[in-house]
């Protein structure tokens, strides 16, 4: 792995150090004061940019960094450091939330790699799902018109979609490993396929949410 080396100058003591990245320089190596934080979640946690992540290690680093950065530790520090602490902890918390969730983590890497992942409108039905979605919507309509006979059909349909979601998650996991093992030039292609899997997944998730809401109102 090659890291770009950046020069970082401390806001307080003015000394310059060489860092792997701006985000990696949380504290000045000379005077130990907190530095202006930078939003780069992987660097912040000291991880290489990768789609697979060691969840236990992520949690360990999260707790360790929390102890060092949390505003509770800076009540009596200078205003600059208090502000940096607040900023740094919000980046830490936001990053932890994103990195620990495989889907959000993948979306983050896609965005960082220049992919447009703006909230895909659920209107565009993935073609391979057209038939299933049509059946499900029919069942929903029948049910809403008061005919409870469609209930069994809807349940069966829901179970099929839950199965699909599980399949997708499994295929995502293997794509993640492929991506991390592949040399840089091939990664873009893998990311492209990950993006389309994610779109499919998001579509199914929204669909399931709607069905589950229907079941919930029925139970209530």
């Amino acid at each position: 792995m090659h890291f770009p080396i950046v020069e970082h100058t401390c806001w307080r003591c003015g000394q310059t150090s060489e860092e792997e990245s701006e985000a990696a320089s949380l504290f000045c190596k000379f005077c130990n004061s907190l530095q202006r934080p930078v939003v780069d979640y992987f660097a912040f946690f000291g991880f290489d940019k990768a789609l697979t992540i060691d969840a236990g290690e992520l949690q360990r680093r999260y707790y360790m960094l929390s102890r060092q950065l949390h505003p509770d530790r800076y009540t009596r520090a200078t205003e600059t450091e208090r502000n940096f602490s607040l900023e740094a902890t919000s980046i830490l918390n936001d990053g932890y939330r994103i990195l620990r969730d495989p889907v959000q983590r993948a979306e983050y890497i896609l965005k960082e790699s220049g992919f447009d992942i703006g909230e895909q409108r659920s209107k565009d039905v993935p073609p391979e799902l057209l038939e299933e979605v049509f059946d499900l919507n029919m069942a929903l309509d029948v049910l809403r018109s008061g005919d409870t006979q469609a209930l069994a059909e809807l349940e069966a349909s829901r179970d099929r979609f839950v199965g699909m979601q599980e399949e997708i998650d499994a295929s995502l996991e293997s794509k993640f490993r492929d991506h991390d093992a592949a040399p840089e030039p091939q990664r873009h292609e893998i990311l492209t396929s990950i993006r389309s899997i994610l779109n499919r997944r998001r579509y199914i998730r929204n669909l399931l949410q709607e069905v589950n809401k229907e079941f919930a109102t029925r139970e209530a």
Binding site: L26, F27, C28, K29, N32, S33, L34, Y63, M64, S66, R67, Q68, L69, H70, P71, D72, R73, T75, R76, A77, L86, T89, S90, I91, N93, D94, Y96, R97
Partner: protein, 617 residues
């Protein structure tokens, strides 16, 4: 990785106190060498009733004494004001029927109570409670207290948190942190010493209900989820019993007493006493005496439990939601902690035990545990405790209103705070100079079903064609659970000015004005009290002199002596109304000095008279 520094400079030595600003009672605590400790009142009580009364002269009475005034002067006394914090009149219309408070006009955004000729907002009233606690701590610790941690219900929204912070500022306290009450309780229990694991804190207080689920990991208290109801507490039980008792009294006496504030408050007191007894004995009697009549109604625990069943059940849905949000089943929760006075009720304990399938912790006094936790958090902030750290969450999702009134969520509920989100805004019309952003809190999809938090006005934009402006807005929820908004023009990179119009609560200027007024008034109040005390002393001596002048002792004195006394008396009367307390005291001393002989004569005369009297008899 470098380690962090703790500043040990002189300023760092300042003590930070922990305050539980409760609906019913408030407490103040500090970290002693041995651990957290609640500071008692001069009378020896640890609880200060959160009751404030305005006297005839405009001064405030707080706590135990104010509680007595609830019955004697209900029109100038207020309780449970926490329920009104950060709210508008529409939010509390229902419950106001049972509260005897008069709400002034124009209370849509901030409630204003009419109290003894004053118009007061909830933060100003809470500030009086905080001032009392502050004075109590200063007397006990013999040092100035100016920095505090204050606890709030975990489910408090932005406006309610801001109102609590405002109250602190008005009381002259720098509020270094707002801590969620259940989290504070978890800290006080020190469960982290025992083991790493998952803890549920069930906090059922006087006016609010909270449930928080935490993971403990080597001194880190990580909140996984929280839920609750900021309008559910012991007050609701009291109100229910009160409503029934009022009807019962009416049918027994054939008289509706609900129009008399005094009667309602007396009956309310009686109902509360019976409720509290029922936690320990199987049956209690509501006793209510009013205008020579006596109402007595025995109530069994069974009947009581039947009445409050639905209130207790309302706490269970938030518990289930919290477990769902934390992706945990009851079996996965290792410990349950009970907090708040209402958890003394056996039915509540039963319900908790059934739901979580675990025997709850009740070792610490449920009234004190939150204040003790606040003191621990204060010690974390001061750097005295370094092995513990709280990671709390925001209880409600934060979003902005988009086209068609739909909410776009930016920060989801149960996100660890500080948390942030960034959004880029643009203009829709050529040359548009400002963009208005409506921020809401809540889980619903439409803005009108959520709680309006504030409107942010991005002002003084560069006039450019529609869609060309790019303003990056950063929404940041700080460690207190309060939203901060900043904006940057992405084209120029310059900071963009943002004007905040809070939907509920006071503006910064209003709070500033209240702080100024409260300090000016504090001096004014103090001077007035000293003068009054001096006048009372003057009254005593003048009255004694009048008596003496009518006695034989006066005539025994020489002319010169009588003239000196008369002159000193005149001197006191001159300064009595217009002088400062120092001038009055000066005059009192002079009069006292010149009339010493007269006093001796009086004593002798009195002794002689007494002796004479005893002989006759």
């Amino acid at each position: 990785m470098s380690t962090f520094q703790i500043d040990f400079s002189a300023a760092a030595k300042k003590r930070i106190v922990g305050i539980d600003l409760g609906t019913t009672n408030s407490l103040i605590a500090f970290m002693d060498l041995t651990g957290p400790e609640v500071i008692p009142t001069p009378e020896g009580s640890k609880l200060v009733p959160s009751v404030v009364s305005v006297s005839n002269d405009g001064s405030y009475v707080v706590g135990e004494r104010a509680q007595r005034l609830l019955i004697d002067a209900p029109e100038r006394t207020v309780y449970s004001v926490k329920r009104l914090m950060g709210r508008g009149i529409e939010d509390v219309r229902d419950e106001l029927r049972l509260f005897p408070f008069r709400i002034a006009d124009g209370s849509e955004n901030v409630i204003r109570l009419e109290l003894g000729g004053k118009l007061l907002t909830p933060p100003e009233i809470s500030a009086q409670v905080l001032k009392q606690l502050k004075a109590q701590a200063e007397a006990y610790l013999s040092e100035e207290v100016s920095q505090a941690v204050i606890t709030v219900p975990a489910y408090f929204n932005d406006a309610q948190r801001q109102a609590t912070k405002d109250a602190g500022r008005i009381a002259g306290l720098e509020v270094l942190r707002l801590v969620n009450e259940p989290t504070a309780a978890a800290l006080a229990y020190g469960l982290d010493k025992r083991k790493n694991g998952v803890v549920a804190v069930y906090d059922f207080g006087g006016g609010t209900f909270d449930i928080s689920i935490l993971r403990l990991n080597d001194g880190i208290f990580e909140v996984l989820s929280t839920n609750g109801d900021t309008h559910l507490g012991g007050d609701d039980i009291d109100n229910k019993l009160l409503r029934i008792a009022l009807e019962d009294v009416e049918s027994e006496w054939d008289e509706d007493v609900s129009h008399s504030g005094e009667a309602v408050q007396t009956l309310r007191r009686a109902v509360i006493i019976a409720k509290e007894k029922l936690s320990f004995v199987p049956s209690a009697t509501i006793e209510f005496g009013w205008r020579g009549k006596l109402y007595q109604r025995e109530i069994s625990r069974e009947l009581f439990e039947g009445l409050i069943k639905d209130i207790v059940e309302r706490t269970l849905a938030p518990c289930r939601h919290a477990m769902l949000d934390a992706s945990l089943k009851p079996e996965q929760i290792d410990e349950v902690v009970l907090v708040g006075g209402s958890t003394r009720i056996p039915l509540v304990r039963q319900a908790v035990e059934t739901l979580f399938k675990a025997k709850p912790h009740t070792e610490l006094n449920p009234d004190e545990v939150v204040a003790l936790g606040a003191a621990v958090q204060a010690a974390i902030l001061s750097g005295d405790v370094t092995d513990k750290l709280l990671l709390d969450v925001t209880p409600l999702s934060l979003g902005i209103e988009t086209m068609g009134g739909v909410v776009s969520k930016l920060i989801h509920r149960n996100s660890t705070i500080p948390a942030s989100a960034t959004e880029v805004f643009t203009t829709s019309v050529d040359g548009q100079l400002n963009v208005l952003i409506h921020v809401v809190q809540g889980e619903r999809e439409l803005a009108r079903d959520c709680r309006s938090l504030a409107r942010f006005d991005l002002k003084d934009l560069q006039p450019v064609p529609a869609g060309m402006a790019r303003v990056e807005v950063r929404f940041l929820i700080d460690a207190n659970g309060i939203l901060n908004v900043s904006a940057r023009d992405m084209r120029s990179g310059k900071e963009q000015s943002v004007e905040v119009k809070p939907s509920y609560g006071l503006t910064d200027d209003q709070v500033e004005a209240m702080i100024t007024e409260s300090f000016e008034r504090a001096e004014e109040d103090f001077a007035a009290r000293q003068t009054r005390e001096a006048q009372v002393e003057a009254d005593t001596i003048l009255l004694a002199l009048d008596k003496a002048q009518a006695s034989d002792a006066w005539h025994v004195l020489g002319d010169a002596e009588r003239a000196t006394i008369a002159a000193a008396r005149k001197g006191l009367l001159t300064v009595y109304h217009t002088g400062t307390h120092l001038q009055i005291r000066d005059a009192i001393e002079k009069l006292d000095g010149v009339s010493r002989k007269l006093a001796e004569n009086m004593m002798n005369t009195a002794v002689r008279a007494a002796l004479k009297g005893s002989k006759i008899d």
